[in-house]
Each structure stands twice: as C-alpha cells, then as structure tokens.
C-alpha cells in the first residue's frame, strides 16, 4: 500500500467533491431516516461511494479493481464521511478489511476478495476484539474452524463476509468466514453509535479460510492503520462540531447580545479551533507516513490517536455546553456526533491506552 499518490491540491479537490457528494446524499434528515429504518446502511450513499467515487476501493491496488491510493487520500474520505455522519461501512469494508487482507499477503485471496470490496458488491467487516473472557481460537480440523466470540464488530449485520483474528496453535492468524456460515451467530448490540451499529458475533466451529501465515506483526500494523483511520474520523467530526458551535454562538442571543460575545463561550470556541487545527496537523502528518517504515507508522499512530481520542470528545462535549438545553435534545445533531466520537475514542485504544504504549516505547515504564 502507498501512503499517498496525490498532491495536496489534488487531495483538496477530492475533499471538495466528497463534500458535495455527502451534502447531496447524506443530509442530516437522510441520516436520521436510515438510522430509524434499522437497515444499518444507506445503500444509495454506499453505492455512490463505491462505484461513482471509487472510495470503497481507494486502498486496493488497480490490478484488483481499486484506485491504488493510500491513507493520505483515505483520511480525507473518512473525515468527510464522518463529518456528514454518513451511514456507510467505510471504516470496516473500505479501510480495515482491505488493509487486513493486504497485510496477510495471500495472492489467491487478494484476487478473490479485493475486487468484490472495491466495486461495492460485497461488504466485509473485521472482527478484532474478543468477547468478554473469551479467547477466539482457530483449529485445523481438516480445514480451519473458528471458535469463540468477537464483540463490537462494526456493521456485522450487513456484512457478506467477516475477517476474524484468532489464536492458532502456533500464534495468531487471520481467517475469512461467510457471515451466513453455520455456527455463526450475529447478535446486534445496543450500540452507542447509531450511525455504525455493532454486533456480538459468536463462532461455534465456523468453517474458515486462513489468509496468509503468522499474523501478529500484520496485526500490529493493522492496529496502527486503525488508529490513524479513526483519528481522521475524529478530526472530521470535531471540525463540523466546531463550525456548528461557532454558528450557534453568532446567532443565539441572550442578555441582548449573541452569546459568542461572552468570553466564556468565545474562548471555548477558540479552544475548539485550536484542537481541531492540532488534530488536522496530526492526521495529515501521520496519514502520509511511509508504510514501509513500520516503526514510525506505529509510533505516529499512537501519537495521533492519543491526541484525537482525548480532545475530540472534549470538542463534542463542549458543543453540547455551548448549545445549552437544545444541545441535550435528541433532535439536535450534537449527540449523534458525540456517540460516534465516543465510539471512535475507544476503537483501537483510548487516549490512556495509547499513552501507555508510548510510555513503553519511550522507556518510561517496563
């Protein structure tokens, strides 16, 4: 995978076309409609992203029907999709699955699976986090079978296939299972994030294809990409929330003046801006790290996620405060963002856990 194949100005054009696309396909009314319908996906938006804009295959090499681009471009797509709260499986199927597969380096699987992701004909999600007290294992019983459970599996209910990381007798492996396979049960969860439902997936000897060999190094890299990807989402949402807050501060009048004239509100908005600009610098820089430099990728991903996971929730909470009572209503968009922000905060490690890992890298703890 590349880090980026485009110039900064090409990425700016790409951003503009995505902004237009989501303004058309994903206004807040549409987002709410999809959420309420319980379908879990905005089919039209996803089709458009996959086929018109090629975003589903952005990270997939051209020989497999994709665009052959990198995180530099994908970060822009993630920012814009999250800004619009688009109800699409972009993180799962457009980012994590293609990266997980490519990191395994299995030529046959690349040919069979990547084109289906790129053209949007299949949604593939990734099951990474073991269920409580469970160690998901894979056993070779005349072909591989998976046992155990995974929690917080993004978009599991609409996925065609699921990539599962499981413990093998000799280490760690990546496995591909059919979402309809026997022994596989998907139990939707009461997800905090309404735009990206999660599920508990249990495996009772589910027939699986092993992809590549020992996967532990690849898993480390996958987690690094995951951190950068959700950081890009956190940036996109924070930026939008800052704009919404500033707009409200200019128009809401109390004590005879717009509340933005009061320094308590003005300074909160200025701090939001500072955090958004910081997140932007961090996301842009880390999304352009050369993937060949694994150590740097790992370290930068921890820095960017530690920052975004700490301050994006601050921005989302401050948004509610700036809005007063209206900010606490279901009708206002603030909670839709807060829910997705808090979800991204946790995915791939919250700020504290990223700092813990950095402490180890820096030699501050054993």
């Amino acid at each position: 995978m590349n880090s980026s194949t485009t110039s900064a100005s090409e990425r700016a054009d790409f951003r503009a076309s995505l902004r237009d696309f989501f303004t058309d396909t994903s206004p807040e009314t549409r987002v709410r409609e999809v959420i309420a319908s319980d379908s879990g996906i905005d089919e039209a938006a996803w089709r458009g992203l996959a086929t018109d804009l090629g975003v589903a295959g952005l990270l997939i090499p051209e020989e497999f029907g994709g665009q052959g681009m990198g995180m530099g471009e994908m970060a822009v797509a993630l920012e814009e999709a999250s800004r619009a709260l688009a109800v699409v499986p972009l993180l799962a199927s457009g980012v994590l699955a293609p990266i997980a597969i490519q990191l395994a380096g299995d030529a046959a699987v690349n040919v069979e699976v990547l084109p289906a992701i790129a053209d949007g004909s299949e949604i593939i999600t990734v099951a990474l986090i073991d269920g409580a007290g469970v160690n998901t294992v894979a056993r070779d019983e005349n072909g591989w079978s998976v046992y155990g459970s995974k929690t917080a599996v993004l978009n599991a209910r609409i996925a065609n296939r699921i990539l599962v990381v499981a413990t093998t007798p000799s280490g760690t492996g990546l496995f591909l299972v059919d979402a309809k396979a026997s022994g596989l049960v998907i139990t939707p969860q009461q997800s905090l994030d309404l735009t990206r439902p999660t599920a508990l997936v249990t495996f009772e000897g589910v027939a699986a294809t092993r992809i590549g060999g020992e996967y532990s190094d690849a898993l480390k890299a996958l987690n690094a990409y995951g951190r950068i990807a959700v950081s890009a989402e956190l940036l996109g949402m924070s930026e939008k929330l800052m704009e919404v807050s500033v707009e409200y501060a200019k128009t809401r009048v109390q004590f005879g003046k717009p509340i933005g004239a009061f320094q308590a509100i003005k300074h909160r908005c200025s701090e939001m801006f500072a955090h958004v600009e910081s997140m932007r610098a961090a996301v842009e820089t880390s999304s352009l790290v050369d993937p060949a430099d694994g150590a740097s990728l790992h370290e930068q991903s921890l820095v960017v996620k530690a920052y975004c996971a700490r301050f994006a929730p601050w921005v989302a909470e401050a948004t509610i405060q700036v809005h007063g009572g209206i900010g606490f209503t279901w009708e206002h968009c603030a909670h839709l963002y807060l829910r997705r922000v808090k979800t991204d905060e946790i995915l791939f490690g919250d700020a504290l856990s990223c700092r813990n890992q950095l402490q180890q890298l820096l030699g501050l703890t054993a």
Partner: protein, 369 residues
Amino acid sequence: MDALLADLREFLANALPAWRAKWPDQDTWEAKLDWQRTMAEGRWTTATWPEEFGGRGLGTMEMLAIEDVVAQYGAPQIPGMIGVKNVAPTLMRFGNDEQRKSVAKIANTDEFWCQGFSEPGAGSDLASLRTRAVIDGDEFVINGQKVWTSNGMYATHMQLLARTDPDAPKHKGISAIIVPIDTPGLEVRPIKQINGGAEFAEVFFTDVRVPVANLIGPLNEGWNVTMTTLGHERAGVAVFAGRLEQRIRNLVEDVTKSDTQISPIIADELAEFYVESRVLGMMGRQMLAKIAGGVAPGSESSVIKMVWSELSQRVDTTVMELAGIDGITGDANDAKVGYLTARSATIAAGTSDIVKNIIGDRVLGLPRD
C-alpha cells in the same frame, strides 16, 4: 540543505566546546553576548536575512532545520533575540538607509535593542498607549513611561511606540521611533522579576529629544510597522514549537536514564506532554512549509502560541514535581527558575486570554463584546 546542516554541525562541534572552555560561567551576560557573536560570525542566527545584510538568504524551512540542529547540540539561546528576530526585520523592511546600518550591528551585538511598547496603562490594550512624541523643529520631544521592557537594562537602542497624533483614532496616531538609550532625559530602572532576574525594566522619558529622522516608516503608521514586527515574532512560534518538542524528548530521555523512580501518574503526564508536543511540532512544521511555499500564515501562529504557552507551563510544573524536595530547597535550581519563568509564557507577547479573543474575533468571526 544536507550540506548546509553538515556545515552547521561542524561549526557547532568546534565553536561550542571552545566557547564553553572560554566561559566557565556560561550564564554571565558577557558569555551570552560572546555566543551570539560567534553565531553571527557563522551567519547562523541571520540565515534568513538577505546576503546584503549579512545573511544567507535562506528560507524559513532551512531556518527551522538550523534551529533544530542548534537545539540538538544544546547551544544556548542568543540574548539579542528581540533585536535579531523583531527589530532587524522591521528595519530591513521599513527603515531608511541610515537606519538599516543597525541591522549588522544587531547581529554582532554592537547594538542591543529593546522594544518599548507596553505602558502602565496600556498592556493588552496596547493601542491605548499615551507616551507622547511632539515634533519640535527637526526633533521629537518625548514624554511618558514604558514598562516591562525586556533587555531594557542592557539595551543601546529602543524601538519606541509613541503617540504622535492624540486626536486620531487610537490605532492611527502612533509612530515608531528609534531612541538611543543614552539620550538625555531617558532613565531606565530595572524591575526585579519573580524568577529573581531583572531582565525587564521600566523606562521614563522626560523631554527626551531625538531627530525626526529616527522615525521608522511613515508618521502615524507606527501601528502597522509594529504589527509587522510582531508578525515576525509570531512566525517565530513555529520554532518555539520545535524547541518544546525537542525539550520534551530530552526530558523523557533524562528521566529514563536516571535512577529516580517515577510514579505512574508522572509517567503518564510525560506521555501526555510527548503527545501534545509532537502534535505541536507537526503544526509548526506545517506552518513553516506553508511559509516556504509562499503562503502567508494565517491563524496558525495564534494557535501555536496558545498551545505552546500553556503546554510549556505544564511541563515546567512537572519538572518541578520531578525535582521533589530539591525543587523547594533550591538544590534543583533549574527546576525552580524554570517553573517561575514559565509563568510569563501566558503573559508576554499577548496573554492567552487575548490570543483566544483574537482567534474568536478574527478567525472564527465571533461578535466582539
């Protein structure tokens, strides 16, 4: 660029040990001046100045790289920062030929400049300053008072802001004037600071007469001239960002190398500083890349100033915590002084509150109160 930095490394590898050997007490003023002269001879402090002014005509990116290397070698900051970073660029831009002669002297410490802007009644609201300069023939007659003048005690010259038209709106009636410190009627008194130093001063003007030719730029345009000056100061925050990042790397390394046991809470604080300073460094480099690409920086400098000042303050607080009992006995003197000095980070060159006002008003377009 690589060749340039190789030159710099070679220069530092020779010049720093020589300077240290020459000055057993490197904290003395003479030692610091000597270091500035050494750096000026190498044209390292003036690298971004045009060659006609003794610079290297380099861009901001090169300057950052230079600053990075200088910081890595643990070289001290030059004492004449205000002259080199703020006054000289102003004179190059607005000064006449005579005034521009000061530029080279500022670099080699023949002249030492301060900036007399703040007054007892005009701090954050600088444009309300009241020190008067009245034209009498071919001279300005200056009366009034300045305060918090950094380097006031050492300065040979002041870039003064004085009111030349009391009837104009407050930003319009101000002029920038060069005042030699030894002019009769001018009195400088040191002000002792909380860290024990006396690096700033109050300056009193009683019928101080300087030639009208000492005017920098047009009459009553001093505000614009000064904003350019402050603009240079703001671009410098990107370098501050890089320095803070490096400082935290060094701090972390010192802590890991020492035998002192640190609590998990301090370890996490250090990790927080690491994260935030890395991000600050990324912002600084983006800002400089923008400048290098010919794009004028916008809001970045305010954001970096705000983040830098608050973060550096937190860092010094933690360094003090790390020192433990030695911090209060003075056995860890640097920690104590650093902690006290850091209080100024959120005051000097625009308080944090004012920076937040600026971002709110000018960047976000929020209504003024």
